[in-house]
């Protein structure tokens, strides 16, 4: 399947708004390429899935930031990002390979990888903080901030007498989450 640059732009736009069709297209276009790269370089099918999904997330972040200017073909970009991510992972596992075999044509993606790593660790901190929050705080926060449900709906669902009660509870939970998150943040910085 060949894509020209207008198609690619539309694809990225779709990606930015979490459009399922665009994700599917990207999957169909590039998954096999990335999988071949990983499998040929000491990886498993699971590794391939992880790396590919991370690559798409990098794309998604870039597309959402709005400042994304494709300087090369999207395919080259995807390949470069996957390759870098895989090398990083290999390095972490201390299985460093001096040169990853495959197509050599790549574009520099260091900036993207770095900011992606940063964001990734922030999200992981948030996930951890949520995990430590415990119930019912976690469900409450997730229902309001993640699933964006209305306060009255939540009050009914969680069995609070009225929305104000639920709201107070939610704020208390939020403050605890903040504390946990920033504690995690400081921990990681040190």
């Amino acid at each position: 399947m060949k894509t020209d640059s207008t198609d690619e732009k539309a694809l990225l736009k779709g990606l930015a708004i979490n459009d399922r069709k665009s994700v599917e297209t990207i999957y169909k276009l590039y998954y096999n390429m990335v999988q071949t790269l990983i499998i040929n370089n000491n990886g498993s099918a699971d590794d391939a899935r992880d790396i590919f999904q991370e690559t798409v997330i990098v794309l998604y972040e870039k597309a959402k930031s709005g400042s994304f200017e494709l300087t090369a073909q999207l395919k080259t970009y995807v390949y470069s990002v996957s390759r870098r991510l895989w090398l990083k992972k290999l390095q972490q596992q201390q299985k460093y390979l001096p040169n990853v075999a495959g197509l050599d044509e790549t574009v520099p993606v260091d900036e993207e990888i770095e900011s992606h790593g940063q964001r990734n660790s922030e999200f992981q901190m948030m996930e951890k903080a949520l995990l430590h929050l415990g119930e019912p705080c976690r469900s409450l926060i997730e229902a309001f901030y993640l699933q964006k449900r209305s306060m009255t709906e939540i009050a009914g669902h969680f069995g609070y007498t009225n929305a104000d009660n639920a709201k107070n509870q939610k704020y208390k939970c939020l403050m605890r989450l903040r504390k946990l998150f920033f504690a995690e943040f400081k921990n990681n910085d040190v």
Binding site: I39, Y171, L174
Partner: protein
């Protein structure tokens, strides 16, 4: 709950749910109170973080769904990794070839060095203390033998004793340790205790390397002696430790005293040690005791050009031999005594107790 109210205000402010008047007073508050302003900024950032997190999560969810869906519809297939061994082989062929040749060369070198440095154990200046019963000697001790033969003899008929040594019980059920060279070449082995009773035995283990052999008494006349009075020492012995030996250099049990004189045996052999004691042919296979009545070794040989230089295999080799013996399931029940029960007795009493466990080994 001022904080809660503030949080609520901030969220309503961010969502644009405030009335114009409220908005104005909120702005006013922010301007006049830097603390509040800071909180607003901080919370805004935190909410933004949560927002992004939520988007990230839902995007991940989409990815996951799409992956599974496409996998099911067959648009993508998960390739199995190539057999990694083959891949490794391809990758490291050269390295492996080099490594293999280095390993090969090293092995050859070590093997040749080992052969070069290994001393021939049976050098001419070392005498095995196995008693050779030549016909003259048999004549000399005719009286004794005659007496012995009056009792029930277990020896094969019309065959003189060819050679012999000493052995000792390592398990009261009738397991005897002695030297390999004592029983080497024997067609049948009979042991005789200090009271003169004879028992038929079978050789169940020999090891030329450590020069140890283990015999099992297989005789209806033998009664288990129960727990042995002496123990067998698992660890080493110290230089200068007083030692004593019991053995059968003649038809009678003979006691002798000495000391540990070197930690290694003939030509630096680490399996054995040297002791200063006088020993004679027939002492081979005899136990070496320390002052606590623990077996620390088994006498093997003496040096011919020197007086009082005797070698013994360390007792820990008995434990090793036994591991081999126990591979045969019928010998699983052998138990070595570790602790001596005659520790604080005086020597005469110790010997009286030990005597029972020391046997003359006669080979036909």
């Amino acid at each position: 709950m001022q904080d809660l109210q503030l949080l609520d205000a901030i969220e309503r402010f961010l969502r644009g749910e405030m009335s114009p008047e409220e908005m104005a007073s909120f702005e006013q508050l922010r301007k006049s109170n830097p603390e509040v302003d800071e909180k607003v900024v901080e919370h805004t950032m935190f909410l933004h973080q949560i927002d992004q997190f939520s988007e990230w999560k839902s995007f991940k969810g989409t990815l996951h769904d799409v992956h599974n869906q496409l996998l099911e519809s067959g648009d993508i297939t998960e390739e199995a990794p190539r057999a990694s061994v083959i891949q490794l082989w391809r990758k490291y062929k050269r390295v492996m070839a080099v490594a293999a040749s280095i390993a090969g060369i090293t092995t050859l070198l070590i093997a040749s060095m080992a052969t070069y440095y290994t001393q021939k154990k049976t050098a001419s200046d070392l005498q095995r203390l196995r008693g050779e019963y030549k016909s003259e000697i048999t004549k000399k001790t005719n009286e004794v033998i005659n007496k012995v033969q009056e009792r029930i003899t277990k020896a094969p008929e019309n065959t003189p004793v060819r050679f012999g040594g000493t052995g000792f019980l390592i398990d009261g059920k009738g397991y005897i340790a002695t030297d390999e060279h004592v029983v080497n070449g024997a067609s049948s082995v009979v042991v005789q205790n200090s009271k003169g009773q004879e028992f038929r035995t079978r050789i169940i283990y020999t090891n030329k390397e450590t020069d140890l052999a283990i015999l099992k008494i297989e005789d209806d006349d033998f009664r288990s002696v129960g727990p042995l009075p002496y123990g067998i020492r698992k660890s080493g012995t110290d230089l200068g430790e007083p030692l004593f030996i019991l053995g059968f250099p003649r038809e009678e049990i003979v006691y002798n005293e000495g000391y540990m004189s070197a930690k290694t045996g003939y030509n630096g052999d680490t399996l054995s040690f040297q002791l200063g004691v006088s020993a004679n042919p027939g002492n081979s296979g005899g136990p070496v005791f320390n002052k606590n009545g623990e077996v620390v070794g088994v006498i093997t040989a003496r040096q011919t050009q020197a007086v009082g230089v005797v070698f013994a295999v360390s007792s820990k080799n008995i434990f090793r031999s036994l591991e081999d013996v126990k591979k045969d399931t019928s010998f699983q029940n052998i138990r070595l005594t570790l602790y001596s029960s005659i520790k604080n007795l005086d020597r005469v009493q110790q010997i009286k107790k030990i005597e029972e466990g020391v046997f003359m080994v006669k080979c036909y």
